[in-house]
């Protein structure tokens, strides 16, 4: 008995801890959000574009000129290029993803670009469509003026741009870049092949800069700064260094993507203003709270003491689920909040099943303790099977769905999983911890339901 009470208290403390975490990490709830420990600032809810405001662009990639076994790598390269361009635009947490065509989605290869906070589609579209600049630069003379930036933390960083001078050699003259492995050391390296003009320019640059550094800049940022060992007349350059194979592959992708590797056309755009998103969030929160209160009132009025326990379990359920949303993190959309709200109703399903069963068993002549026990074990198969079917449905939706449907399926599916734990384990521990065993008129009132007491 003592053990059960201790366990219940531990769960209560644990649950309050989770609720406190959710509260602490939410800027809108916690007034001291800005001044607190940096740890708590890491976990705000991640809001989808429809709630935070921003742009959602879908591009179609024209892969007709690419052989089928290179489609995958070309699309990856395309994504890298677009991602870099978007990053240059100063968007926080942009999402650029490739959607491959196939039997299920139909359609062709697509590129999906999400730009949170950017509502100026015109500017965004222009920026994504622009051609990037691949440049080769040589070391500036030692006495050239160098720009330095003093950072907020007091560190001085020298502006790399001022250390190098631009040459005529650009991505226009690069024929292709390939990934190779050194025959002796097995280290990955990147080999470049210039076209005719590029070969001449490269020979000149290397001749004049033996022992010095040549920097390869992409969109104004240095991607690699190799040192020249000797003059290279054949237009072939090798960038070796401490690459991991992954890094080398990435670099090859980037170099080959001097221009977009795959032509793209804009298929659809979606922009949501920040105010619209904010009002949707407020509406979603309001609906959740009212929904929760209605369910809680119903449970307590109809199921009395077990109902109260169910409300406690439902509160823990809410805290755990919200914490999971923060930790994973789950990107919340209006449809996702809808999924969460429905799961609030669903989460008590198992409790309702169990309580109805409990009552039946107690009516059959069991005492209250045995009634609770039988109620849980008899109701389990239907809880298990009905929830399994909901989980199967959400997995299929998550697998096949569009982003909107995926958002719903994820919150709904997680909700069903967590509810199986909260409605069964947590409420059972609490019910047992109450230690009600005897059947008298008072306990029969507590365990009765609706308009009837147990008799």
């Amino acid at each position: 008995m003592i053990k059960k009470i201790i366990l219940a208290v531990v769960i209560l403390i644990f649950g309050s801890g989770i609720a406190f975490f959710v509260y602490k990490t939410e800027p809108k709830l916690n007034n001291n959000f800005e001044t607190q420990n940096a740890f708590f600032k890491k976990f705000p809810f991640r809001l989808g574009l429809d709630l935070s405001g921003g742009s959602h662009l879908i591009y179609k990639a024209d892969i007709s000129a690419i052989s089928s076994n290179e489609v995958g790598s070309s699309m990856e390269a395309l994504r890298d290029v677009i991602e870099r361009r978007v990053n240059l635009f100063g968007v926080s947490e942009p999402v650029v993803q490739v959607q491959h065509g196939g039997f299920i989605s139909g359609g062709g290869e697509q590129l999906i670009v999400d730009l949170p906070g950017i509502t100026d589609v015109k500017k965004a579209v222009e920026m994504i469509g622009q051609t990037p600049v691949l440049e080769f630069k040589t070391e500036a003379s030692k006495d050239a003026v160098q720009n330095a930036i003093v950072g907020k933390d007091g560190n001085i960083t020298i502006d790399l741009n001022s250390q190098f001078v631009t040459t005529e050699l650009t991505g226009r003259y690069l024929k292709k870049a390939t990934l190779e492995f050194d025959q002796n050391t097995r280290e990955p390296k990147v080999s470049l092949q210039f076209d005719e003009t590029g070969t001449k320019l490269f020979a000149k640059i290397t001749k004049e800069n033996v022992g010095k550094k040549v920097a390869i800049f992409l969109d104004g940022m240095p991607v690699s700064i190799p040192t020249v060992n000797e003059e290279i007349p054949n237009g072939q350059a090798v960038i070796s260094g401490n690459f991991t194979p992954k890094e080398a592959k990435l670099l090859v992708g980037r170099l080959n993507s001097g221009a977009l590797p795959v032509p793209i056309t804009l298929l659809s755009t979606q922009t949501i203003g920040a105010t619209l998103g904010e009002s949707a969030v407020n509406a979603g929160v309001k609906a959740s709270i009212i929904g929760f209160i209605l369910v809680a009132l119903f449970l307590i009025l109809w199921y009395r003491l077990p109902g109260l326990i169910a409300v406690l379990a439902l509160s823990l359920y809410t805290a755990i689920l919200l914490a999971i949303f923060k930790l994973l993190p789950v990107t919340l959309t209006a449809a996702g909040i809808g999924g969460f709200i429905i799961s609030l109703g669903m989460a008590v399903d198992a409790n309702v099943l169990i309580f109805e069963r409990m009552k039946e068993e107690i009516r059959k002549g069991h005492n209250i303790y045995d009634g609770i026990h039988a109620g849980f074990s008899r109701a389990w198969p239907s809880v298990r099977d009905s929830n399994t079917s909901s989980i199967i449905t959400s997995i299929i939706l998550f697998w096949l769905g569009t982003p909107l449907i995926k958002g719903f399926a994820l919150t709904f599916g997680l909700g069903v999983l967590v509810s199986m734990f909260s409605a069964i384990t947590i409420s059972r521990i609490f019910l047992y911890a109450l230690g009600i065993e005897k059947s008298n008129s008072f306990t029969k009132f507590l365990f009765g339901s609706g308009f009837k007491n147990l008799n």
Partner: protein, 299 residues
Amino acid sequence: MFIVKYKKIFISLSVILVVVSLVSIFIFGLNPGIDFKGGALMEVSYSAGRPEVSLMEANIKKVNINQALIQPTGELGYIIKTRDLSETEHQALLSSLAFNNKYPVLEKSFTSIGPSVGSELTRKAIVSISMVILAIILFITYAFHKVSRPVASWKYGVITIVTLLHDIIIPTGIFALIAFYTNAEADTLFILALLTILGLSVHDKIVVFDRIRENLRTGDSKNFAEIVGTSTSQTIVRSINITLTIIFVLVPLYLFGPETTKNFALILTIGLFFGIYSSLFFASPLLILVEEWQSKNKK
């Protein structure tokens, strides 16, 4: 047990409802959202009072966008629906709506979807619905494989699907009727609502069937119809209560929730209501009917 006694009435009622809904879908039709058929949707608001619809129409025609549906929203806003627009056309439309700054306009949201994205989505929706239905039949067949007598477990699966169709067709019919008056569109969220109804309604059927499964194993009665009747009445309170709790969260979602999920909440509420109705008064009578046919054929 009244469900057993009046099973033919319940089944007829369901059949009539389904037929009426199909007629409603056929007459009123469903208006696919722009996410399925392609097109553009713009929501604008005029903080200093909005211009007349006729003024808006005239100005939109000037930028070569011929067909535009203009609906007032809230006190100060409009929703404008057109064919799909390129970015240049979008900018032209937006600047035309400002009437040379006579009416300062704020663009709240803009969506333009090409027709090919739409057909892809339609395909996805069909594949997802079929996959969900297939997975459900398989799961129910598996979950009830131990209760193959007197009715084979796959028949539970098939009955579930028949009742699921019932649960989906009726809300769709009602939605077609509502949409006829409110111009509501059948968009991705509409499909999502139907899929959710599928999920929740299977959930329900499993609870009722589970009770039948248990009573078949342990019950004293030999009469299948009686077992189904008892099992249904044993689960009736639970079924009504759980539907009530979900409706308790859906009503606030409809009344106070985000604009985008309003129709979603409405269809779900309707679907849940008919889902619970069919679990109790359509699935169970069907099960008895199937068993009666079986024993007749044996004789």
